[in-house]
């Protein structure tokens, strides 16, 4: 009776209970399941409402974006806050300024994206790839409405481009382009932008995150286009936070919180 036996017993029992629970689920793509169709004798389901009304309400062809950033905007705002809080937690645990001890451990910074013959292939490849990656990231953020993507994915792609700078040359090089002060400022700014889009309608006398009233600010024809533009603004806020926090997590993890040396 070793601990492994009990561990596998617990795993098997949990797995059986989960599989038993799954048997109650509706079939894949079942048109009569509660999520897909109107409840019998009741009001039509939420997803039917989104599918029918999302384009009229917001003029956004991609329903996923409309649901995430508009109908469920409150939820997405706190997803952004969760990412921000996770970044702050990692920052609080890892970030430290160890002067005497780490100065010996950290390798001397010598390579740069322009020099060092040993890494010239990696460096040159990164120099070519990084601008393309960043422009693609901006494209994904800006085209969250008509195509898959949005603030979260675009922010991750932008963060990946900065991580590529750190991998292609070294962490100091990446931090000279996107310093600690800047990423902490941008991470907070992203959350503030999202919350600002929530507070602005309140100032104008409507509910939190009720973008439709912003037509007075955007000078658009109707509330639909105001919601369309507000979704873009909110996506930019999400992208700023995700980009900054993911790069901050990488910078702190790869250098053990010293922001020197890196991988």
């Amino acid at each position: 009776m070793n601990p492994k036996f009990f561990a596998s017993l617990a795993v098997v029992i949990t797995g059986f209970v989960l599989l038993y629970g799954v048997s109650d689920f509706p079939g894949f793509g079942d048109p009569r399941s509660p999520a897909n169709a109107g409840v019998e004798g009741g009001s039509p389901s939420a997803s039917l409402h989104y599918i029918n009304e999302a384009y009229h309400d917001t003029k956004v062809p991609n329903i996923v974006t409309a649901v995430l950033a508009d109908y469920r905007g409150y939820d997405t705002m706190f997803e952004t806050v969760v990412i921000f809080a996770a970044g702050m937690a990692i920052f609080a645990i890892l970030r430290c300024v160890r002067k005497d001890e780490e100065a010996v451990v950290a390798p001397p910074a010598k390579s740069s994206i322009d020099g060092d013959h040993n890494r010239i292939i990696v460096g040159m490849t990164c120099r070519i790839i990084i601008p393309v990656v960043q422009i693609f990231g901006l494209y994904v953020i800006a085209h969250g409405h008509p195509s898959p993507g949005g603030g979260f994915q675009g922010g991750v792609i932008l963060a990946a481009s900065f991580i590529l700078v750190a991998l292609g040359s070294n962490l100091e090089d990446a931090l000279s382009r996107f310093s600690e002060k800047n990423y902490l400022t941008l991470a907070s700014l992203g959350v503030i932008i999202y919350a600002g889009f929530g507070v602005l309608p309140q100032v104008l006398g409507r509910n939190f995150l009720d973008y439709g009233v912003l037509q007075k600010l955007f000078l658009t024809d109707g509330p639909e286009m105001a919601r369309y533009h507000s979704i873009l603004g909110v996506e930019i806020g999400v992208a700023l936070t995700v980009m900054s926090i993911l790069f901050a997590i990488f910078a702190n993890l790869s250098s053990r919180g010293t922001l020197k040396g890196g991988l």
Partner: protein, 81 residues
């Protein structure tokens, strides 16, 4: 939804998961976990959930692997205590 395609992806998914759990080297395990993430991304794209597939490709197969590797390279076999 194409059934043969589904079955191929799911078989590879299980194989990748088992190998990622059983490989001794943590670095290889992280790389195989990236393959697992990419297979899930394929599965979602094939089911029509393109937004989720995009997120999985960027976060699951991309950034999280980099973070795993960054962490693994900074750990040692023995504790310093």
């Amino acid at each position: 939804m194409i059934l043969p395609f589904d079955i191929i992806i799911l078989v590879f998914l299980i194989v990748a998961a088992v190998i990622a759990l059983n490989v001794k080297d943590l670095l290889s395990s992280a790389m195989i976990f990236a393959i697992y993430g990419f297979l899930i991304c394929l599965l979602w794209a094939e089911m029509g959930a393109v937004d989720v597939a995009f997120t999985e490709a960027t976060v699951g197969a991309g950034i999280s692997t980099v973070l795993f590797i960054a962490t693994i390279l900074n750990t040692r076999r023995r504790s310093s205590d």
